[in-house]
Amino acid sequence: MNEVWLKAPKVDRRFKADDRVVMAHGGGGRMMAELIRGVFGHHFNNSLLAQAHDVAVMPQPAGRIVVSTDGHVISPMFFPGGDIGSLAVHGTLNDVAMGGAMPIALTAGFIIEEGFPLADLDRIAESMGKAARDAGVRIATGDTKVVERGKGDGVFITTTGIGVVPDHLDIGPHAVRSGMAVILSGTLGDHGVAIMSSRAGLEFGTSIVSDSAALHRMVADVVDAAPGTALLRDPTRGGLSSTMNELVEGRPYGVLLDEASIPVKPEVASACELLGLDPLHIANEGKMICICPPEQASAALAAMRRHPEGRDAALIGQVVSDKPGFVRMTTAIGGMRVVDWLSGEQLPRIC
């Protein structure tokens, strides 16, 4: 795709360190226009946004259109390895990518609480702009609302992504067959543990950073190497266990995982031991599951491992006809157990 990145338009960006968002920033008047130009326009600048229109108009691409939307409310907003801005870009790009699609554009809706520091908003917008540029995707249009103090919690960001999926791919739970391989692109639990380590009341020193990353380029290589790919999923909230249980519920197949082959960083494993958590329940923001025919598994693995975000990829199990509707696992010591949904909430507001 021929990307056009404009030079930053000349706008007034002289806000002071203690400047804060006020109600008028969402009021539709001059202050709102200045905020949009000075912060969002400055950091997101691209040809679609520069149309300065209520809609972004773009040419019709070849293939089928994929669309996905995701709200981001994470607390804390800045965490090791990312922030709400980069997460809002990666999260939605990955949802689009899990359809086997190449994302082409994003929209962004901001709900900002009155009193939020402008410098923080600028930092978030900068991070969003960088994440989008790195991913080669434009933020095409957006919306800004300000709510009274106490009616929000800093900033909530909703992003919607559109993408294009090639006609020959058939991805979805209906395409999954017993005997297929289950591949995980890397270590589990990095994002959730990074968030926990920086959350008030639970701060613990760790070198773990969030795995937040855009996966669409890796997806493109995987579906190229393994064209029989039946399913792609990103194990975000609820972790691998919820993703797998969602898949098998009501289906004529089950999944059998092998605990010993599931990659988990030692630091993450230690934090989980300490806090009584199961890495299989913890959120990830830069990992994917690929289910493909067994004869294409090594090609899919090799394709993942060519990308930095897939270097720890591993074959972790298979789709089985035994005990349909259940996710089960051979444990580290060779016993058997069910891998259940996360019950209740493990941590509020993780993405």
Binding site: G201, A269, A332, I333, G334, G335, V338, G344
Partner: protein
């Protein structure tokens, strides 16, 4: 992960499994009670029963502090939380436990009560310091493992003169409960489970040592092996118990030597003794009134005792009818014997306490062995 992975090693597990198969007498049935919910969880989490022969049975004991807290005490905690001046602090597990009339601390919180989840008693003290115009009540629950931190918080509150902090004390004692279970057959021989030995608590024993279990071998002629919480600890302890049974020995043995000594942590014991005294009797969910089985705060520290600071109303508390938690906690029934299991009662909408805590037997069966348990239930229903 060092010091953990070694105790989850597959090759070693297979060696232990082979030794257990070789030494367990096929003409015998071995019923071993793991007292602690921590063991129950480890057994299910790692599928330990898949590695032992069918004639070695785990009987799940009442060692889950969330599960045995009587519903009446939980109703009292909710009443405390609902007082406008109170911030009630609790460990996270307690929040979802069903109380009378399907209430819970979580529902009280949704209705406006100030209930906070803490990871440590010292967090509750921080909340007291930060809210001098509020009364901060810590809901103290647990066995001998969690009692010293509660004692520490009370000691600290007195040293600093923190006046708006108190503890609603529900700390309970392990040896008294084991004694009670062994006395139970005399009370109701119909309901007796023949127990051939005990897997002794691991974390509790780090505090109290192995000495308090010696009455089990001396007076009740039951073998005990203090066992660590890792799957290989459990398997090795099972092997040690099988050997005791086969050889006709009744000893208190210690598998968990890397942490547990005979005398335990005497500093912690001294601190607990300074602040708490033994209650004459205390009600346990499932076991009923158990003499000398719980602690209350000594008179010298009465100002930190929520039961003395606040007037708590008399109330009639009711368990859900047909919930089998009481029999399950005594090891008399299995979760599959309960009509509610997996139907009206799941971890998302628990009717009884055994389904709430990850250490509860019902939650363990549901979470880790649901496929097999539901199949068994269907088979039994068909018969």
């Amino acid at each position: 992960m060092k010091y953990v992975d070694e105790f989850r090693d597959r090759q070693l597990a297979e060696k232990l499994a082979a030794a257990i198969r070789a030494e367990a007498d096929p003409k015998r049935i071995y019923n071993f009670m793991e007292f602690c919910g921590g063991h129950t969880h480890a057994i299910f989490r790692y599928g330990v029963q898949d590695l032992v022969p069918d004639n070695v049975n785990f009987v799940h004991g009442p060692g889950c502090p969330v599960c045995i807290l009587p519903i009446r005490r939980l109703d009292d905690a909710i009443e405390l939380a609902e007082r406008p001046e109170v911030i009630l602090c609790s460990y996270g597990d307690m929040l979802r436990v069903p109380a009378s009339k399907r209430r819970s601390l979580m529902k009280a919180k949704a209705d406006g009560a100030d209930v906070r989840m803490v990871y440590s008693t010292l967090d509750a003290l921080d909340i007291a310091r930060a809210n001098p115009d509020k009364q901060v009540v810590f809901l103290g629950i647990g066995f001998e493992t969690t009692t010293p931190p509660t004692a520490l918080a009370i000691e600290q509150a007195r040293a600093e003169g923190i006046e708006n902090f108190s503890v609603f004390c529900n700390h309970v004692l392990t040896p008294a409960a084991i004694r009670h279970i062994l006395d139970a057959p005399e009370i109701d021989p119909e309901q007796a489970v023949r127990l051939d030995g005990f897997l002794g608590p691991s974390h509790v024993s780090t505090v109290i040592g192995s000495r308090p279990y010696e009455f089990l071998s001396d007076k009740y002629a039951k073998p005990v092996v203090i066992a660590g919480f890792e799957p290989l600890d459990v398997m090795q302890s099972v092997l040690m118990l099988i050997r005791q049974v086969n050889e006709g020995r009744v000893d208190v043995e210690n598998q968990y030597t890397r942490v547990v000594t005979r005398m335990g942590n005497e500093k912690a014991q001294d601190l607990v003794a300074k602040i708490f005294e033994v209650r004459d009797t205390f009600e346990w969910r499932g076991l009923g009134s158990v003499p000398d089985s719980a602690l209350s705060i000594r008179e010298e520290y009465a100002q930190f005792d929520a039961e003395k600071r606040f007037e708590i109303s008399e109330k009639v508390s009711r368990e859900v009818k047909s919930c089998e938690c009481p029999s399950i906690l005594r090891g008399v029934k299995k979760p599959k014997d309960c009509k509610l299991f997996g139907k009206a009662c799941t971890p998302e909408s628990p009717m009884g306490s055994c389904m709430v805590s990850s250490e509860g037997a019902c939650a363990a069966y549901w979470t880790y062995r649901r496929a097999e348990t539901l199949a068994e239930m269907a088979l039994e229903a068909a018969e």
